[in-house]
Each structure stands twice: as structure tokens, then as C-alpha cells.
């Protein structure tokens, strides 16, 4: 009892047959082999599965693939330009050492993009509040805050 869904992922439109209960994160990872987005809890707390659906950052473990029918989805794999030029948020995380084990990083990048798009000049407090739905066990967040601040500066310029 599968259903057909058509989604645009990182600029490419494709149609797939999926089980109605398939989570969006598993659709991305298992069906499409886009393994950049991670599964950290499956309870919508950790944020490692954060992707953009129709321009909004969402936790893809808390959505069924069928609910994304017709949607435009951006994952970490689609952040850099086609030629490989990194997005400002990627460059900032690299420069500021905003990652250690890297497992939370794809989700952190997606939420960072959203924080800055909503508020181009966030204060540190606003950055921290914006990051609260994404857990990182390695960094203590300080370098992530630095990375968001620095990416915002670049994106404002």
C-alpha cells in the first residue's frame, strides 16, 4: 500500500513510491541515499535531522514523507553551490571550529541558515535561543555561536 510522492530535493524533482508511515528522514536517507541528515533521537528533540521544507527548517523525523508531497526540500547536500563553493554558514562553521564529531553539524547548518534569514543581525542571546532545538554534545556551543555570528556578518555584507 504505497503512495506516490513528487518532491524537489536540492533542485531536482523526483517521484517515488513510499509507504505512508515512512518518515521524511528515512525517505531522505534510505530511499534517496542523502545521508548527510542524521538520526539522533527520532523524538524531535536533538535536531540532527533538520532540513528545510518550503523554506522553513523542520525536523525531518517528525514528518512523514507523504506530507512532503509537492514540497521543495533543501538538505545539507544542497547547501554549497554546484561548483563546490561553500555556503557562508558552512564556511563559518569551518573557520570558527563550530564542529567536532560532525554528527550534529548538518542540522546545525540548516538551523543557522534559518536563524540568519529570519534575523540578519542576531544578538548572542537570540543566536542561542535559535539553536535550542539542536543538541551538540561536543562543542559546548561557544564556537557554534561564534560561527552563527560570523556567518550572519558575511551574509549581511
Amino acid at each position: 500500500m504505497t503512495r506516490s510522492i513528487t518532491v524537489t530535493i536540492n533542485g531536482i524533482t523526483q517521484t517515488h513510491e513510499v509507504e505512508p508511515r515512512l518518515l521524511l528522514i528515512h525517505f531522505l536517507r534510505e530511499t534517496l541515499s542523502l545521508t548527510g541528515s542524521h538520526v539522533g533521537c527520532e523524538t524531535s528533540i536533538c535536531g540532527t535531522c533538520t532540513v528545510e521544507v518550503n523554506g522553513k527548517a523542520i525536523k525531518s523525523c517528525s514528518m512523514f514523507a507523504v506530507q512532503a508531497n509537492g514540497a521543495n526540500i533543501l538538505t545539507v547536500e544542497g547547501l554549497a553551490e554546484a561548483g563546490g563553493k561553500l555556503h557562508a554558514v558552512q564556511e563559518a562553521f569551518w573557520n570558527e571550529h563550530g564542529l567536532q564529531c560532525g554528527f550534529c553539524t548538518p542540522g546545525m547548518l540548516m538551523i543557522t541558515k534559518q536563524i540568519i534569514e529570519r534575523n540578519p543581525d542576531p544578538t548572542d542571546t537570540e543566536i542561542r535561543e535559535g539553536l535550542d532545538g539542536n543538541l551538540c554534545r561536543c562543542t559546548g556551543y561557544q564556537h557554534i555561536v561564534n560561527a552563527v555570528r560570523s556567518a550572519a556578518k558575511v551574509m549581511r555584507a
Binding site: E77, C101, R128, E129, C138
Partner: protein
């Protein structure tokens, strides 16, 4: 043979010491890093575990028929099928240690919630999860015991029926004459101090892909581990395979913090299934499983006594340490509290110590190494006791510490616990932290705040730790580390390290070391780790050992290689008076040079060899450390408590750490920040709570409070530098420092904020509810 003055790439500027951004990062920020769950093998099956919902029960029967009837289910195995597989191995030993056999699947009893009783194999993970729910296990539930002191009480339920006292071991250590010290003491302070169970919670849970290739009789395993070589050795023993037929890879590992310094039942179960079915099999732990079945940290109830003179000189320490072991020994479980004993005196010159450690079985998941492993508990203990003593003597806690520090001219310093502290200047870190925080000014502010009825606290810890694990005789496995440095025919450099970084950044720092030693560009170096088929045997990443032991192995392999390069250069230049620097060998008389690239090509082409030399250009070295290293520091936390809510605001966090030489300040900062976050997590929020029925009631992120961006303070970090004499890099280790220093500083700050109300000690975590209740009950009883 021509000489050349046009080397491929050479560099005279030093990389070591620079804030170099990490060379491993592009794969992570582009989402192309490969973790275990990202590995897809053709035809792979998925495994799902059936786990005990009870803390203690007998298994009457298991009905797997419904699961087997489900389309897509391949097989189900229970403990009856796996009971001949070797048990999970404990690598630690103590006199008289009771070691229960740890079957990979429970056979007739379950001993903790989450204990695996069966494994389901299916064509996809959704079916495996459904089929796991189909399996009906008939349990006869028995009374569980989950608290170590309750487990020691007469008449407590026996976790293992063969040992009714629930005692796995009792370990004693005495240094000096503690009984005399206590008999002659002018002041004695006592306190019960707990260090609650914590969940390591790396963002990546555990996971295994096992692929038995019957035609080759080889087992290929990808597993999320900190110790690929040790895991291969132990799994080959458990599975009865020749070790050279097991190939184990730690791919990218999404955090470990000690919980992946282990070999787990599931690694053997998944391998067993792959061997049974001749198919690749994958298992990825859910977060819920991770909470229930991956080792937890801490789990202490400590009874401390300090003997002192009226002037503040501490003359003796007594400790009764009750360690909650859980139901089994994992790899290092019983050894962890013995590290606490070693660390008992902290940075203080205390000559008389007495410790009794009681290891207690409970119906909980085993405890084992979690960031700091034994040292945070001990540091929390001594640092709390120093504050309690300071309060008793009405001394400033900084002054009391300064009075008892091992002096900077006393190194190497033999402790009463048998360690030999390598180097240090403890007063210098304290001075710097007090200066940065304006400690004197803060104390004045506090007086003002109290007049206004505000609850402001200033807490400090002056911590030490035991790092760079370690000398082999003092460790359960070897404590050495290995490195191979290979100059390829093109002159490019490959470093193979026996450690297994998973966030610590050694692909960068080891490249910095190699680039400096060889005088080449850092981009000419590649660092490889984690694959037992590629890398020579190594020990792994834990115990703040990566750079201090693994980096030193790289360094000494480079010295060996430099000697070879110099001899090749001498042949090229037809001179014995040469030296190697900046990527070229130079004739000291003529100034003629030959570049590393030219030498490398000739070493592999081998038309002519220098006297006594073989073709090729590589060196492998194993470094055996002569001692641990002993980093230290001083952390100061300024807090303010809202009496209406019990909420704690961290106003300032100052950390001054001495970790010896710093190879990459950017990476060091990151390690310290992350360590502080985990230490504050213990102090303020985190708690693995089992109820009396044996249920883990904080078994998800919903119930277990992790540090978040908005709850973490800004960390003001500074350093002093006392190079370690133990290794030629002069490094000490930084992975655990923040975790060890932060917890007592935070708790001391909150107790300080409430001290004028008569509060002397608070057990962690310092939840708002707990603080609010304390403020409410103590209000009006102001002592100050």
C-alpha cells in the same frame, strides 16, 4: 645523481601552535562524512533487538512464532542460540573480583532494563522493529534493586543469586598514616557526597554493520567505536575467530566520551547473525536503547572525611566510595573507581590517605568510563570538601587551597596514592583565574548583594587530573601508542595513527606535527586512522591520550624517518656533513641541497642505496610512556540564584587551564568548552534515574536534560603553560580537563550563594526545584 634546489613544497614557518582550522571539516560540513548508519551493503539485512522491560526477571519462555510468520522476517535468535558465543569481556581485574558471565543474549534471566533477550533479522528496519514487538517473552518478574546503598542493605534482592551481598569487590588503599592523622587532627569535617549516574549521549548512537564473507572466512565489521584494534581483538575472542580474519573499521564516529571505549554484546550479536546467515547485517541503536543499554558514567556515593589543623593544613583524607557497577562488568567497569582513589588528594600535599571502595551490583546498565572516568568524582569530592573545610575554619576557599598546594619546586611529586605528578605551578593558575575574574572585587560585590537580599555565589575549583593514559603496567590493556609515517614516492606524506579520533581533530594536529618536522606544507600530509586493515595495531582514543601518547608516537616515528632522509641526502650530496631541515637536506660545507621529493622518488626507484639502507621511506614506532601526565587548572563560577524560582544564572565562567604545550589553540578551546558543558551538565541538569522497580525513568531526551545553547554560559578561557617532561611534545592532554574542573566550581558557587543561609552541601544535579526548596526552608535562618 643530480642535486636540486627546487623542492616540491617546503615550509619554514611552524604550524604547531597555530589556530589552524581543521582539515577534516569539509566532509562534515558538506554532509558527506560516512558514519556507520550511512554504510549500505548490497543485500544487507537489518537487526532489531528484543529487550527486557524489567530490571530483574526470570525468562520462562520466548515465543518467536508470530515474528517468524511476518513477511520480510528472516530469522530470530535467542539466548539459547548464542549461549556458546563468548561472553562480553571485562578487561579490568582486582583482587577477588567477582565476574558474572555476561552472555550476549540473556539465557534464563534478565538483569537490567534493556537487557537483550532476542535478535530479529528482517529485510528492512521497519519490519525488524515490528517483528521485535511480535515476540512474546514470558517473564517471572523478581524484585529489582537499583540503588547501590539499598543493594548493600541486609535482605536486599540479589542481583546475581550466587552473590547475595551484591558486592563485586572491596578494594583498599592506604598511604602514610591516616589513623594517626585523624587522631591528631584539630579539625575533622565529614560529608556524604554523591555523583549521580550520567548518560554519555554522543549525538550518534552505537551502530554495527557486520559482513561475514564465507568464501574468504573473513568478518568485516564497521562499528562506532573509540578502540578499533582492541575491539577487533576482543570480538575475535568472543566469536572464536582468528584475529587476522577480522577486519574492523571505525568510520566517522559521532562522539564517544568514553561510552564507545567498550565492546558491547550487540557487536557480537550482529556479527553472529551475519555469520549464521552469510549476509551483511546492520543494527543501529535507537536513542531509547542508547539510554538503557550503553554504559553510563559516575554512580558514586562517597563518604569523605578530612583531617586538618586549625591553620587549614590538610593532614588526612578518608574516603568510603560506594560504586554502582550495574548488573555486569563492561570493559573497564571495576577499574573506574580505582582512578578516583588515585586522584583523591587532588592538587594538595596530603600525606595520609585511606580509601575503601565497594563495588556494588545493581539492576542497572553497567557504569564505565565517561569523560573523566573516576577523576571527576574524586575532584568533585576533594573540591567540595575543601570548601566545607574553609567554611568550618571561616577561611577564604582560595586561601585554603593555596595553603595546601603542592609547591612548584616540589616536582616530580610523589603522591600518597602512588602517583608521580610530572610538573606544575598550581598557584599560578589560581592567581590568573582570580585576576581575570577580579576575585577580590567579586567578594565585595557579594557582600553588597547579600545586603540587598540577593543570592550571589562565587565558586572555585582547583583541579588536577591523570591524563595521557598511560604506562602499560598501569593500564588494563597496553598504554602505548603507535604511528607509521610514510613518505610516498611523490614525496607526499601519509601518517597512520593507532588512535581513533572522533572529533578531537588529530587529522589536523598530527599533520601540524609532521609538517613541522619534515618542513613540508601541511596539505602534503594525510592522516589515516580507524581501519585495522590499514593501520598498525593501536590502542585508541580515550583518557586524554590522543596527542600526548599518539602524537608522541608520530613524533618519534618522524625522528626515525628524518634520520633516514638525512642518510639518503648524504648519499645524494656525497657528503657526511649534512642536515635535514625545511624539507631539504643541505650540505653544511657547500650549501648544496637535495629536496625530500627527490629523495623519496629515489628511495622507491632504488637504483642505488645508501650504505646499510633498504628501499622505501617509512618508519613505524610504538611509544611507551614513562608516566601519566597531570594537567591542572582553576575554574571560577559566578552565579546568582532567583529565590522565587530556584533558577541559577551563571554570570561568569572563568577557566584557566594548564595542559602543557598547545599545538592548536582553536582545537584546544573547543575541547575545553565541550568539557565544561558536560561538567555543568552534571552539576545542574543531567541525571539517570532508576525507580525502585528497575525502570529507567529518564530514558529519552524528553526526560534527561542536556546542556543547550541557551543554558550554557560564555566561557572565558585562559592558560598557563607548564610543559610536561613525560613526552617530547611537552603536551599533557585536554579532552577531560573541562569536565573535571567545572562540576565542583559550579556546585561550590551555588553552595556559596546559599552559605549564609546555613547551606553547607547540595548533591547534584542542582535543579531549580531542589534549590527553591532549599531557599524556602532556609530563608529566615540567615547565619551571616
Amino acid at each position: 645523481m643530480a642535486t636540486t634546489t627546487t623542492p616540491t613544497t617546503t615550509k619554514t614557518e611552524k604550524y604547531v601552535g597555530q589556530r589552524l582550522r581543521r582539515r577534516e571539516d569539509p566532509r562534515f560540513i558538506t554532509g558527506t562524512a560516512t558514519y556507520v548508519e550511512d554504510i549500505k551493503l548490497p543485500g544487507a539485512y537489518y537487526a532489531g533487538m528484543v529487550r527486557s522491560p524489567h530490571g530483574a526477571a526470570k525468562i520462562r519462555s520466548i515465543d518467536v512464532s508470530k515474528a517468524l510468520a511476518r513477511p520480510g522476517v528472516i530469522a530470530v535468535y535467542t539466548g539459547q542460540d548464542t549461549k556458546n558465543v563468548g561472553g562480553v569481556i571485562c578487561g579490568a581485574d582486582l583482587p577477588g573480583l567477582r565476574k558474572p558471565h555476561h552472555y550476549i543474549l540473556a539465557v534464563d534471566r534478565v538483569y537490567f532494563p534493556g537487557h537483550p533477550v532476542a535478535v530479529v533479522v528482517a529485510t528492512d528496519k521497519y519490519i525488524a522493529a515490528d517483528a521485535a514487538d511480535d515476540i512474546e517473552v514470558d517473564y517471572e518478574v523478581t524484585q529489582a534493586v537499583t540503588h547501590p546503598e539499598k543493594a548493600l542493605a541486609p535482605g536486599a534482592p540479589a542481583v546475581h543469586p550466587e552473590w547475595p551481598d551484591n558486592t563485586a569487590f572491596v578494594f583498599h588503599q592506604v598511604g602514610g598514616d591516616p589513623d594517626k592523622a585523624f587522631a591528631e587532627a584539630e579539625v575533622i569535617v565529614k560529608q556524604r557526597i554523591t555523583s549521580q549516574r550520567l548518560v554519555a549521549n554522543p549525538m550518534e548512537t552505537r551502530g554495527v554493520v557486520a559482513d561475514w564473507r564465507a568464501a574468504d572466512r573473513t568478518l568485516h565489521i564497521h562499528t562506532s567505536t573509540q578502540i578499533p584494534h582492541l575491539a577487533r581483538t576482543l570480538l575475535s575472542i568472543m566469536l572464536g575467530l582468528e584475529e587476522n580474519r577480522v577486519h574492523l573499521v571505525a568510520p566517522m564516529v559521532g562522539g564517544g566520551f568514553g561510552c564507545k571505549l567498550n565492546v558491547y554484546a550487540e557487536e557480537a550479536i550482529v556479527a553472529f547473525v551475519s555469520m549464521k546467515l552469510n549476509k551483511p547485517v546492520k543494527w543501529i541503536e535507537t536513542r531509547r536503547e542508547n539510554f538503557m543499554t550503553t554504559i553510563q558514567g559516575r554512580g558514586h556515593v562517597d563518604y569523605y572525611e578530612l583531617a586538618a589543623k586549625k591553620d587549614g593544613t590538610v593532614t588526612g583524607i578518608k574516603l568510603k566510595l560506594i560504586q554502582d557497577l550495574g548488573a555486569y562488568h563492561q570493559l573497564l567497569t571495576p577499574a573506574i573507581p580505582t582512578l578516583s582513589v588515585l586522584m583523591m588528594p587532588g592538587l594538595y600535599n596530603v600525606r595520609n590517605i585511606k580509601a575503601e571502595v565497594v563495588g556494588v551490583f545493581t539492576n542497572c546498565v553497567p557504569t564505565d568510563a565517561y569523560r573523566g572516568a573516576g577523576r571527576p568524582e574524586a575532584t568533585h569530592g576533594i573540591e567540595r570538601m575543601m570548601d566545607i573545610l574553609a567554611a568550618e575554619l571561616k577561611m577564604d576557599p582560595a586561601e585554603l587551597r593555596r595553603k595546601n598546594f603542592v609547591g612548584k619546586d616540589q616536582f616530580p611529586f610523589a603522591t600518597a596514592t602512588g602517583l608521580n605528578y610530572d610538573s606544575g605551578d598550581y598557584a599560578a593558575t589560581l592567581d590568573k583565574a582570580m585576576q581575570i575574574s577580579d576575585y577580590a572585587g567579586l567578594r565585595k560585590q557579594q557582600v553588597e548583594a547579600r545586603k540587598q537580599g540577593r543570592l550571589m555565589g562565587i565558586g572555585l575549583s582547583t583541579y588536577g587530573e591523570i591524563c595521557a593514559m598511560g604506562p602499560s603496567p598501569a593500564t588494563p590493556a597496553g598504554g602505548w601508542e603507535s604511528a607509521t609515517v610514510r613518505i610516498e614516492p611523490s614525496g607526499k606524506v601519509t601518517v597512520l595513527t593507532g588512535i581513533s579520533p572522533h572529533g578531537q581533530g588529530e587529522e589536523t594536529t598530527f599533520a601540524q606535527i609532521a609538517a613541522d618536522e619534515l618542513g613540508v606544507h601541511v596539505d602534503d600530509i594525510t592522516v589515516i586512522h580507524g581501519d585495522t586493515a590499514i593501520v598498525q595495531y593501536g590502542i585508541g582514543t580515550f583518557g586524554s591520550r590522543g596527542t600526548a601518547v599518539g602524537g608522541t608516537a608520530v613524533y618519534i616515528a618522524l625522528q626515525d624517518l628524518k634520520d633516514k632522509i638525512t642518510r639518503w641526502g648524504a648519499m645524494f650530496l656525497n657528503s657526511e656533513d649534512v642536515h635535514f631541515a625545511g624539507g631539504v637536506v643541505t650540505d653544511n660545507k657547500t650549501g648544496q641541497t637535495v629536496a625530500l621529493g627527490t629523495i623519496a622518488a629515489a628511495a622507491y626507484r632504488a637504483m642505488k642505496l645508501p650504505p646499510g639502507m633498504d628501499p622505501g621511506l617509512m618508519a613505524t614506532k610504538f611509544f611507551e610512556p614513562s608516566n601519566f601526565t597531570y594537567p591542572f587548572g582553576a575554574h571560577i563560577v559566578v552565579s546568582e540564584i532567583d529565590p522565587a524560582t530556584g533558577q541559577i544564572e551563571i554570570r561568569r565562567y572563568v577557566a584557566v587551564d594548564d595542559i602543557g604545550n598547545i599545538l592548536n589553540p582553536l582545537i584546544v578551546d573547543g575541547q575545553l568548552h565541550g568539557g565544561v558543558a558536560q561538567g555543568l551538565g552534571q552539576a545542574l541538569w543531567e541525571n539517570a534515574v532508576y525507580d525502585d522497580n528497575g525502570q529507567l525513568i529518564t530514558g529519552e531526551f524528553m526526560d534527561y536534560a542536556m546542556p543547550k545553547a541557551s543554558t550554557m554560559p560564555w566561557i572565558e578561557s585562559a592558560h598557563t603553560c607548564t610543559p610536561s617532561p613525560v613526552n617530547p611534545l611537552g603536551v599533557k592532554g585536554v579532552g577531560e580537563a573541562g569536565t573535571i574542573g567545572s562540576t565542583p566550581a559550579m556546585v561550590n558557587s551555588v553552595v556559596d550563594a546559599l552559605s549564609h543561609l546555613g547551606v553547607r552541601h547540595i548533591d547534584m544535579p542542582l535543579t531549580p526545584e531542589k534549590i527553591w526548596k532549599l531557599v524556602s526552608t532556609h530563608a529566615g535562618s540567615q547565619a551571616a
